[in-house]
């Protein structure tokens, strides 16, 4: 089972998306992290539909006040799973736990009312009025709790007497105190038994408020970051204006823009070529992020998106800590590729994203590995993107190229600071077999030693 927790630190940018969700309670955060990767189209459609509905609600200016109140109430929800487990295990609760249940039940009732006021019916919170009645014998509807004297007349009488004789007769005082404790214990037992019946609705309510919190946070995030509702499709995945939210924010801090890209993934492998620093790896990472966000029911970072759900997303993006596993970078990469090939053979529907395949070995064999991999990828129910610097690939597969340096637009010296202004990150179809030769130029921009550049230039066979 793949949960959000298991991938959040493996997928570049996912931690950023999770951290920037404005969840109201830490309960919701735990729920979110244990959300599952949604494989079934139906559950995906349902999840995205729920976010979409919430999105329309928060977009409605008239709801702003209610949303604010709702978020405040959700913020008061504590994670009382432990206490609820005690109830369903027929344990006797102490005052602190009974207080937790009472406060929770009152909050649920208030949240229900707020949801009703905006006519929200998708997630219906179970009624906990009976729970409130048990814990609120004086009908104050204030979220305080102790073993009220109104639970038991004898207790009420003893407590009164106890206060009176406190200073005069310490022995009798102690006797009465112990009698009171005894009666209180009986009452706690009765209350806990009565609550046992409501263990299920209480748990349901806890899950539901956490879920509403999550939906609300996803919708607010979508609004704030300009994410879009992905359309679930079966043939081709298509992004218009795809962007990387974290990178966009970093660039924004430097007063730079992130250039969004359009890309379409068919059911056949696609090769991406382009100069160094042209953002090929970013494209791969962003597509991985968007696909994961989609599969966990988030809106995605694009202006328009149609996405094919997949059973698994498989990556080979060379930032594995291969040394840690005692593998060379080539060995680690081959293991990843092997896993992808296995998935193809098993007929699994996957998205495979491979960065600079076979880059760490000699070009002859490297080229052969790329060709062979693409041949195999062609056969399965698989959407894949492979970036490469190799030319002379004899496959007939689709090829895209990052436009790269806009030579005609360069008016002053290109430096590491302004190179971003002269880069065109958009992807174009590229059916000839020419690979951009801009490595030396980029190296020059980076300020690499001139002797090296001159010598390298001499060695270059043009």
């Amino acid at each position: 089972m793949t949960t959000l927790r298991s991938i959040v630190d493996k997928i570049n940018g996912m931690r950023f998306m999770v951290e920037s969700l404005e969840l109201c309670s830490s309960l919701a955060k735990r729920h979110l992290m244990s959300q599952e990767y949604l494989r079934a189209e139906e559950s995906l459609a349902n999840e995205i539909g729920n976010v979409s509905e919430m999105f329309s609600i928060i977009k409605e200016a008239a709801n702003a006040n209610i949303i604010e109140k709702l978020r405040m109430k959700l913020g008061h929800i504590l994670d009382i799973r432990g206490t609820l487990n005690n109830i369903s295990n027929a344990a006797v609760l102490d005052d602190i736990q009974l207080f937790e249940v009472k406060r929770f039940a009152l909050l649920v009732s208030e949240i229900s009312e707020l949801l009703n006021s905006i006519d929200y019916k998708t997630i219906v919170l179970p009624s906990l009025e009976n729970v409130i009645d048990i814990l609120d014998p004086d009908k104050t509807r204030i979220a305080h709790f102790y073993i009220y004297p109104s639970y038991n007349e004898v207790l009420a009488g003893l407590r009164k007497k106890q206060e009176k004789i406190k200073d005069e007769n310490p022995e009798e005082y102690e006797e009465i105190r112990i009698k009171c404790l005894d009666i209180e214990d009986d009452i706690r037992q009765d209350i806990s038994r009565e609550l046992y019946v409501y263990a299920k609705p209480l748990k349901e309510a806890l899950d539901s408020v956490a879920y509403i919190d999550i939906l609300l946070a996803k919708a607010l995030q979508a609004n704030k970051m300009n994410l879009c509702e992905p359309k679930i499709v079966n043939e081709n995945t298509l992004y218009k204006g795809l962007f990387n939210p974290q990178l966009k924010e970093v660039l924004m801090e430097q007063n730079k823009d992130f250039q969004a890209i359009d890309i379409c993934l068919y059911k056949s492998p696609c090769l991406i070529t382009g100069a160094n620093m042209a953002g090929k790896t970013v494209v791969l990472k962003t597509i991985a992020l968007a696909q994961y966000m989609f599969q966990f029911g988030f809106f995605v970072p694009a202006t328009d998106a149609e996405i094919v759900p997949v059973e698994d997303i498989m990556l080979s993006i060379g930032d594995d800590q291969s040394e840690m596993n005692g593998l060379s970078s080539f060995a680690a990469e081959m293991m990843n590729i092997n896993a992808i090939i296995k998935a193809v053979h098993s007929g699994k529907k996957v998205l495979a994203l491979i960065d600079e395949l076979a880059r760490t070995t000699n070009p002859e064999e490297g080229r052969a590995i790329v060709n062979a991999t693409i041949d195999i990828l062609e056969a399965g129910d698989i959407r894949s993107l492979v970036t490469t610097h190799y030319n002379g690939l004899n496959t007939s597969c689709r090829k895209l190229r990052v436009k790269g340096l806009m030579t005609d637009k360069i008016t002053k010296e290109v430096t590491i600071e302004n190179i971003n202004d002269y880069m065109d990150y958009s992807l174009v179809e590229n059916n000839d077999d020419v690979v951009p030769m801009e490595a030396l130029r980029i190296a020059a921009v980076l300020g690499i030693d001139e002797e090296l550049l001159e010598k390298a230039d001499k060695y270059t066979v043009r």
Binding site: S26, L78, D94, D95, I96, F99, E100, R103, H144, F145, Y146, I147, R159, Q162, E163, K166, R177, C180
Partner: protein
């Protein structure tokens, strides 16, 4: 007894013992008992857990503080479960202390309870704020003066200091030691627009330049000051030290050429762990110290009985103390 009416003027009060067995708990119980006669909502909490209440034989905590009916108190879950009085739970914190979450409750009768509160100053401050919003007139903090404590009683508006024979069995010595703490409590407050920003800093050494802009001096600790001497005055001579102030630091600053321009800022007086001599030599050479949090000392209580059993003459002690401090001094045994 007079100082009760002074307490009512403040939204928060801490009661602090200079040493163990200086009668802090007696003082606290006295204050709680007397406040009962005024129609005021009182809340009580503490800073962390106080070792004074540990029973040395059984190693268990035994409740010492007697709460009056309707007093609000804030204590840990563990101690709430051990309480000996009837009380209504009003709130439970989300944050945890080492003894569990903090329970806010209201006493429905009188009785004993052990109070353990938040572990740090920021949390304590927010509790005092929360109590204000719950219509509490005065929040009383059972305070501790400890080098180990992250929480400082100086966040309260007012303070009562408990001292006594446990500090010294010699009256002039006892008066001198108490006077020194009294002087520290009365250190002038640093007035600035960036005070809140300064309070929120928990690490490092900072400088405030002539334009009131804060600079991190990038000196990891006062122990590394001599090595980083060149950096210290890069942004002027107003220096904020977040951690504890030691003799070594004061002595180092004292011998600097620009000592007359140096203003040393500390969070509050509890951060100053220096000897009387080092402190006064520093001031004498022209150095200045300011605090960010300053509290008003309302009264000093003295306990003439030492833990070893000898008893100082109450009247002589009281008289000597009030003469030196010029504020009301009371014998805790006679309250």
């Amino acid at each position: 007894m007079p100082f009760i009416e002074d307490i009512l003027k403040y939204k928060s009060l801490s009661i602090v013992g200079l040493e163990k067995n200086t009668g802090k708990t007696e003082c606290l119980n006295y204050v709680l008992r007397r406040l009962k006669d005024f129609d005021r909502q009182i809340a009580l909490t503490s800073i962390g857990i106080d070792g004074e209440n540990v029973d040395q034989v059984k190693q268990t905590h035994k409740p010492e503080i007697e709460l009056q009916k309707d007093t609000i108190f804030i204590t840990s879950e563990k101690h709430y479960r051990e309480k000996l009085l009837v009380s209504e739970i009003m709130d439970i914190s989300e944050q945890h202390t080492s003894l569990g979450r903090l329970v806010t409750a209201k006493a429905k009768g009188s009785g004993k309870v052990l109070i353990s509160g938040p572990a740090d100053t920021v949390w304590l401050k927010s509790i005092i704020k929360q109590m204000e919003s719950m219509k509490v007139d005065t929040t009383i903090v059972d305070g501790a003066l400890s080098r180990l404590s992250l929480g400082s009683p100086a966040v309260t508006e007012s303070m009562v200091l408990a001292t006594g024979a446990a500090v010294s069995a010699n009256i002039p010595q006892l008066v001198k030691k108490t006077k020194f703490v009294y002087d520290l409590i009365n250190i002038e407050e640093y007035v600035s627009d960036i005070k809140e920003e300064l309070i929120s800093k928990n690490k490092g050494i900072w400088a405030i330049d002539a334009d009131g802009v804060l600079h991190d001096l990038d000196i990891p600790s006062v122990f590394l000051l001599e090595k980083n001497k060149d950096k210290l005055f890069n942004h002027g001579t107003v220096i904020y030290v977040t951690g504890a102030i030691s003799d070594k630091l004061l002595n180092f600053l004292r011998i600097q050429k620009n000592i007359k321009d140096i203003v040393l800022i500390v969070k509050d007086f509890t951060k100053i762990f220096v000897t009387h001599q080092a402190y006064h030599s520093f001031l004498k050479r022209g150095g200045r110290i300011n605090v960010l949090l300053r509290t008003n000392l309302i009264a000093v209580t003295v306990n003439p009985v030492s833990p070893e059993g000898f008893v100082l003459d109450s009247e002589t002690l009281r008289a000597a103390m009030s003469e030196s401090l010029q504020i009301p001094v009371y014998d805790i045994k006679k309250l």
